[in-house]
Assembly symmetry: C2
Homo-oligomer: 271 residues x 2
Amino acid sequence: MRQRSRSWRGAGLTIGLVPTMGFFHQGHLSLMDQAIKLSQRVVVSLFVNPTQFGPSEDLDKYPRNEDRDIRLAEERGVHCLFMPRPEDIYTPGHQTWIEVTEVSKGLCGRSRPGHFRGVATIVAKLFNIVEPDMAVFGEKDFQQLQIIRTMVRDLNFPVKIYGHPIVREDDGLAMSSRNTYLSPEERSQALCLNQAVGLARELVLEGCRQRSEIEKKVRDLIASYPLARVDYIFIGDPETLKEPETVPSPALIALAVHIGSTRLIDNGLIP
Amino acid sequence: MRQRSRSWRGAGLTIGLVPTMGFFHQGHLSLMDQAIKLSQRVVVSLFVNPTQFGPSEDLDKYPRNEDRDIRLAEERGVHCLFMPRPEDIYTPGHQTWIEVTEVSKGLCGRSRPGHFRGVATIVAKLFNIVEPDMAVFGEKDFQQLQIIRTMVRDLNFPVKIYGHPIVREDDGLAMSSRNTYLSPEERSQALCLNQAVGLARELVLEGCRQRSEIEKKVRDLIASYPLARVDYIFIGDPETLKEPETVPSPALIALAVHIGSTRLIDNGLIP
């Protein structure tokens, strides 16, 4: 992979990277489109990274369809689909980890201990293998994007980071490989995430600045969906991911909700 | 710095990096010589990295002589002396750290908590800023060298790591910027470190394989120097830095000793 990148670099071509865990949906494809717009050669990595899954999480059942992914990436105009094996990425005795301490603390970092350590470490590895000029990440994983931006700044990675807006189904559900786990009934109740984002936005734009008041109303909305169980509701600063009681401007509303046994996330910026 | 490196790279030149904290002695100069032999352009970084010093350590009094260092590097044929300011390296809100867990545990890692986290982090930053093909580190800091090698392997840094043998004064004292702290009496008693390395080597070569027995004899030797106080004596595996009771082959003897208020280290490989 590095040889391929270096031969492109040597020919004066810029390289964009889109790190993914595969099972491509329209969200992934739009990241690829953006990378193709911004750079002359595009590498998509497909690696279901074991170190970002907790022991009780869905690593083993994470959805995969490599043949379809290869076809979709090719059709999209991706120049290289990088599919390393786990044993090539984590050699015996692997013991080096990158921790982005502050912005990893809340939100998904609280519910998924070790998750962002695994994310930061694999992304650093991919940056060092592919040596891209830029990389594109989806804004659905907003905290992940902030962690990557912070890591790149703090460790001086020579990679420009782009965030790409959430791509949604027609009814508003944020695209996610995990949506495939949902039963029809769950699929319909999963709309509560996007509705929660909309409600928080509405309340702030109407003038409400009390975090706890907005959180309570969002919690009540989700409670009206019998299959939904809140993991967290965050309303706070999109940069620092801190949550002062007075809602900052701009603000981020981000949440994780279990729909049946599937954990989904969504978020939105409030200007 | 990165622009300079990239223009060299673009011209087809290989780049070597020698990370230092300055106050150059013959040890540093021999690292520069090796880098000059191995690559076409040599960058020496001079940065007294605050994050690798503990709160009670000698950051404020660490010896400095930038004018002399500039002259020595220039005379040696170094192409670039990179001297960033602390505020350029650690921007406000810095929160990203690299931990190399296993090989950081014993030896200096036990006496200096957080030290190797600071070392790994600054070296990763320098790699990302300078983008060298290779880097040279002294073997006096043997554990540091193992940590860097492990980090490079685990994070796929595209940098080849070379270790350079310890350079000693005529009487055997390992060169160190910290030797400048020693009074004449301390300077003479500091020889106990190299003598301890020699004694351990002798005992092993004579057939002794009991770690605790060798350690006791080394400890007794150092105890005969009234100004010396042992921090640690390590006799074990040079790769894993583990210490089985039966001395492995090859073995590393490494130790840290306080001479008065100055902490010195030394080591040697036993084939």
